[in-house]
């Protein structure tokens, strides 16, 4: 082997190691935020008390209600929803090769939210049926968006513009249903328009966990093909990938993730949009960053939730905080894109 090949191989190994290291750090950060979310609050519990309360089945341990009924679901669902939004957003962005093409900007998340609101507030359903409705509605909205932006040649720009229009329309529908269901209060409205972890129940967590684990494993397995797709369709076919199959599979998986998470926590603003680019920044962008963006999503949701609860004199829902984070980045992104021309 020549020196050049050796040095390329060494560089490849080094980058892989670097990526693994960053993922580890991010995972540790996620875990510590989860612990913090459990420990900190109006009453601060020790780790031992928390473990006792979680193990306890009789419901009599100290702080059982606060820990198991209030903080635990919030923590678990926050982490899972973050993973779901982060990974789904990154998948969309990498597939469409545009940082603006994340599901929350092109309106897919709102599509899932519409079905969830319809199921929960109008039909009075709960549990997995709502999630399935959200998935179906998310898929329908995505199909309609792609179909509408296709005429005379597909363009990302048109997809994004149509997505902005779709978003306005879907949010109008959500507001209408909120009014019709006489649930016209600020917390409910904010949950379904910008996402919130207030009052989430542990029942939702099991199904979400199964979906998140299955879908993320599938996405991670498909990442190899995604990297081949980046070379262009002709190359990909030669190298043995089936470009359209991979695309459809990835989009379906991303939609499943988004829709399930949305049906439980509402469309947490900007997490899908922010996670991918932040992960790219951290790892240098050569990789597809699925795992790292999943952790970044999780960190964003947990940190924003903690900040929303304790950093201000008023308790803000998580979606309001992430929304504020997302907006300046969107402006910065536009500034950079426009400068490049």
């Amino acid at each position: 082997m020549t020196d050049q090949v050796l040095s390329v191989k060494a560089g490849y190994k080094k980058r892989n190691l670097h990526y693994a290291l960053i993922c580890m750090v991010l995972a540790l950060l996620t875990l510590s935020l989860m612990c913090f979310e459990l420990i900190y609050g109006k009453t601060v519990y020790t780790p031992a008390q928390i473990i006792n309360a979680i193990k306890d089945t009789t419901g009599k341990a100290e702080g059982y209600f606060t820990i198991v009924t209030l903080r635990l679901p919030r923590t678990i669902i926050g982490a899972l929803a973050g993973i779901a939004f982060g990974m789904a957003g990154n998948t969309f962005q990498k597939l469409l090769r545009n940082p603006l093409a994340s599901p929350d900007i092109i309106g897919v998340t709102s599509g899932a939210s519409v079905a969830a609101v319809f199921g929960i507030l109008i039909l009075g359903l709960s549990g997995s049926i709502v999630s399935i409705m959200a998935v179906v509605s998310g898929i329908i909205v995505a199909c309609v968006l792609f179909f509408l932006s296709k005429g005379r040649g597909f363009s990302n720009g048109r997809l994004i513009l149509i997505g902005i229009g779709a978003q306005a329309f879907l949010n109008g529908l959500i507001s209408w249903m909120l009014l019709k269901a006489s649930e016209y209060d600020v917390p409910t409205a904010l949950r379904w328009l910008s996402g919130s972890l207030n009052g989430v129940k542990i029942e939702g967590a099991g199904l979400l966990a199964v979906v998140v684990i299955c879908c993320s494993v599938c996405i991670l397995l498909l990442t190899r093909h995604l990297q081949v797709l980046r070379l262009g369709d002709d190359f990909a076919v030669t190298l043995g990938a089936a470009p359209n199959m991979v695309r459809i599979a990835l989009i379906l998986l991303a939609l499943l993730l988004t829709a399930f998470a949305t049906s439980i926590s509402g469309p947490i603003a900007s997490v899908a949009f922010l996670s991918g680019p932040i992960a790219d920044r951290l790892t240098g962008g050569g990789k597809d960053n699925m795992l790292s963006s999943a952790f970044v999503g999780s960190i964003l949701v947990l940190a924003a939730d903690i900040a929303g609860q304790y950093a201000f004199s008023v308790r803000y829902p998580v979606g309001v905080i992430t929304g504020i984070l997302g907006a300046p980045y969107l402006l910065y992104l536009l500034l950079r894109m426009n400068k490049k021309g």
């Binding site: 720009g157 513009l161 016209y184």
Partner: protein, 337 residues
Amino acid sequence: MKQKTLFTGKILILFTALICLLAISMFLSVTFGAKHVDLRSVLAAFKIGSGDPYEVSVVSARVPRTAFGIIAGAALALSGALMQALTRNPIADPSILGVNTGASFFVVCGISFLHISTNSQYIWLAFIGASLTAVCVYGLASIGGGGATAIKLALAGAAASTALQSLVNTVMLPNNQVMDSFRFWQTGNIGGATWSDIISLAPFLIIGFICCIFLAPSLNALALGDDVATGLGLNVKLIRLVSAFAGVLLCASTTALAGPIGFIGLMIPHFVRLITGPDMRLVLPLSALGGAGLLVFADVLGRVLGSPSELEVGIVTALLGAPVFVFIVRKVKVSAL
């Protein structure tokens, strides 16, 4: 010659149709709602004949709302038409560009931090907010090659309105847990208007309307390009400045009292232009007429969709207008995006 009469005929038909829309909407707006009122009481409210005193008072309570709807709709449509002419961009509209949200953000801040409470103060703040947003969004969109293209303008506007919307949420949440007033600054509503509101708004709107009347011919010349317009003896910079001022003034003063109402300025001028062509002398007055009719109609529709309560008119216009926006975006060529 024959073509000319055909064109005049089309304009007349459009004019009649818009007048009919406005008349029907006005009639529905005063009669329709939680309490239905018959024609006799409506006439009685205007001192023609006599009717049930209770119904008469219901009608007179609905009249300022209708009147405000007419004025606000006309102002928003004119503002949209001006912005589209100014930016030469079919999707420019006070709501798409985030100008309405900018106005409402400033008013919300004024209410929470400066404790202002009178309409005239609202209007000034709304005007400052709207102008700043308009300048920033347009500036952001024109950076880089190609100037302010449709997509750059829409994205900059969408980004700005998302940013401002989340700021509005943050300012409103601690002060207001009441849904009605919280929603008010997110999606506009003309339900709370009174005669004194309309009177305090009037001078600003009249200035805007007068600017529009004088601007129309110059905007036609401007559409030929800056060079030609200069050659025809126009002061291009002045025209642009005045039309931007008028456009922002019209939408800001409406937003100050009604909250951000979207898509009127996008839909109406677009449909009017489909029939009249680009002549601003026709587009502006017909847009004003159509905007007034549409906003009052959307307000009535909100009472139907939201019964027994009512749906804010801003939500109704979004439901009606977003498909139109998608339709327009689909028509724009890929190369332009």
